[in-house]
Amino acid sequence: MGGGVRFLLVEDNAELAASVAARLGLEGHGVDRVGTLAEAEEFLRAATYDLILLDIMLPDGDGRDFLARHRRAERQTPVIVMTARSAVSDRVDALDTGADDYITKPFDFAELEARCRAVLRRKGGLVQTLRRYADLSFDPLSATVAFAGESRDLRSREVRLLELFLNAPGRILSKEHLCDRLFSFSEPVSDNAIEVYVGRLRKKLTGSQARIETVRGLGYRLTDS
């Protein structure tokens, strides 16, 4: 998502909340963490958020009731429900009560990011996520990169790859590190898969001052020539 998104995480399991918040923090997002619906209401009155991550089963009530109140109050903040209950019946309910999306625990962090991105893109205009590097201006939400007065569309993995490089410009990123972030752990990945995607991104960036260098035996790094 390009970092800088403000999350309100409503989750009563302290360990899960801590680890999700840590992950989001690592990506450069701001996270406020609450364990009850009452706290969530309080935080929402005091601050604005770009996205709410909502657990369904909370100690002081059902997340779906919160959602219903949220919609009645016509608050625009998009909500992604995190459900741990039996997927089938909960999903239908959550969508009926106005969640923008849901994700079933446990989730792949990349999937959570992809869903957040999709929701923010649909809701549009609330978040400014434009990122600049060298002559690049990159919008992860609309999946476009622009330079020299020309805009190019990126595919999902290219977006995530470019995000990884932009989060650590000039640093060497190992192939393994990139693989872990780009592919799901349950899908088969060949050794040269990452080279394919780096190759594609390089092609999209042809003509810009930003370059992806191969550091033999170590990995890749983004440089400004």
Binding site: E15, R85, A87, D90, V92, P106, A118, R157
Partner: protein
């Protein structure tokens, strides 16, 4: 369903009522017949007795003997009773003075003018005899006189036979009248049972409220037992639902923590050995979560299929919604989910079952397809069916027979490197057949698989 050896209460009741009616009719006809015979006997006896008395009174003693002045009226009275033969005997002292001397005497001699009646066989017929005695002064001495007057009983027997027939006819009439009555009584007695059965049978499959239908007091124990059974069933079912939800929660939450922590550790670790172990850990967590999820989904699908709680819904709309939900999963693999599901396809079914089926089909297509490929999702009406086709360019069925892949825990031979439980397609198949639809899987021309989920259109 009636258990073997079950009998009909109504038939049994009718049978018993008719048996009772037959006994009553028999007793009635016997009583009528005996009463009638007695009455006719009494009438005949009265006539016979008065005739015998008349005869006795007409005797008088005269010089040198006795005179019986037989009045025609006496005998005409008897003749009025029918064509009977008449016998008489008059004894004075120990001597028979006139009539049949072999006419049997009564067992007990009559006293004064009160006649004694008896029936004896005489000359090939039963005759009824009235015996009267009086005393006459003959030659200054009181001499006992015994007068016997007998009459054959043919007329009386004919009357008795006629009365007997009439009594039998009466009995039969009573019995015949009892038949519709017995049927009516049996029906009105068993009607509350029928009404109760109908009230219970009319309920929807999800209606587990206690039975409140008015029932006769004798059926109260049955209704109570039924209600306690319904109560237990309701408890079990709601426990099942709660259990599925709770089990999912308690398995998934720790798995989520474990997976997140492992991912965090993977982010922060630079040691390749550790990283490889963490990847294995994440894969196992995914595996466990997926299997648990599919098992619980499967239980939910079986449970809901039993409930058969169908509603009208738009299959095309549901296909759009599910495809939209799964689009990010496809996008992550740089895959395109091409959706062609216009308009409205009205089907009857359970939204949860359909959602589970569609999600499993599309999820499968995404999971087994290579990056950058296209999954096509089409929903349209074909004849009387709404058909959802999901076609991918994945690894296909690997030569396996499609029906083999629909079996529980059965996976293709070509999917060893992808996490899966082998329940997904079983769920789809069961959901489809529960709602009167079909599910087919076939290899696609040019590579890949093609799944076809059909539901009848309303």
């Amino acid at each position: 369903m009636i258990a073997p050896g079950g009998f009909s209460l109504r038939r049994r009741l009718v049978g018993q009522l008719l048996a009772l009616a037959a006994v009553l009719a028999l007793v009635l006809s016997l009583a009528v017949r005996i009463g009638a015979e007695r009455a006719s006997q009494a009438t005949l006896d009265a006539v016979l007795g008065s005739a015998a008395l008349g005869l006795a009174e007409e005797m008088r003693a005269e010089e040198g003997g006795m005179v019986i002045d037989m009045q025609p009226a006496t005998f005409s009275m008897l003749a009025a009773m029918g064509e009977e033969r008449i016998f008489y005997r008059v004894d004075v002292g120990t001597l028979t003075v006139t009539g049949y001397s072999d006419l049997p005497l009564p067992a007990r001699l009559p006293r004064a003018l009160a006649p004694v009646f008896y029936t004896v066989p005489f000359r090939d017929a039963d005759i009824r005899v009235a015996a009267v005695s009086r005393s006459l002064r003959v030659e200054g001495r009181a001499t006992p006189v015994l007068v016997l007057l007998g009459q054959t009983r043919e007329g009386q027997e004919a009357i008795a036979a006629r009365l007997g027939w009439q009594a039998a006819a009466l009995g039969l009439a009573v019995f015949l009248a009892a038949i519709p009555l017995a049927l009516l009584v049996a029906r009105s007695l068993t009607r509350p049972i029928d009404q109760l059965a109908e009230a219970v049978g009319r309920r929807g499959p999800r209606d587990l409220r206690p039975v409140r239908h008015p029932a006769p007091r004798e059926l109260a124990p049955f209704v109570t037992a039924l209600n306690s059974f319904i109560g237990r069933l309701r408890g079990t079912l709601s426990q099942t639902e709660t259990f599925i939800a709770e089990a999912a929660h308690h398995i998934r939450t720790p798995l989520a923590v474990m997976r997140n922590e492992a991912e965090l550790a993977l982010r922060q670790s630079t040691e390749e050995g550790t990283r490889a172990r963490l990847r294995g850990l994440i894969r196992s967590a995914d595996d466990a979560a997926r299997s648990a999820g599919q098992l619980l989904d499967h239980a939910t699908v079986l449970y809901r299929a039993d409930q058969a709680d169908w509603a009208r819904l738009d299959l095309a709309g549901m296909v759009r919604a599910v495809a939209l939900r799964l689009a990010p999963a496809a996008e992550m693999k740089d895959m395109d989910l091409v959706l062609d599901s216009p308009g409205v396809l009205t089907c009857e079914g359970d939204a949860v079952l359909i959602e589970a089926a569609l999600r499993n089909i599309i999820d499968n297509a995404i999971k087994y397809s290579p990056p950058d490929s296209v999954v096509e999702v089409t929903a349209r009406a074909t004849g009387a069916m709404a058909v959802v086709i999901v076609a991918d360019r994945g690894r296909g069925l690997g030569g396996a027979a499609p029906e083999r892949l629909l079996r529980r825990f059965r996976r293709g031979d070509n999917v060893g490197d992808v996490t899966g439980s082998g329940l997904g397609l079983t769920i789809v198949e069961q959901a489809a057949s529960a709602m009167g639809g079909t599910f087919r899987l076939r290899a696609r021309e040019g590579g890949g698989a093609c799944a076809e989920f059909c539901l009848p259109l309303v």
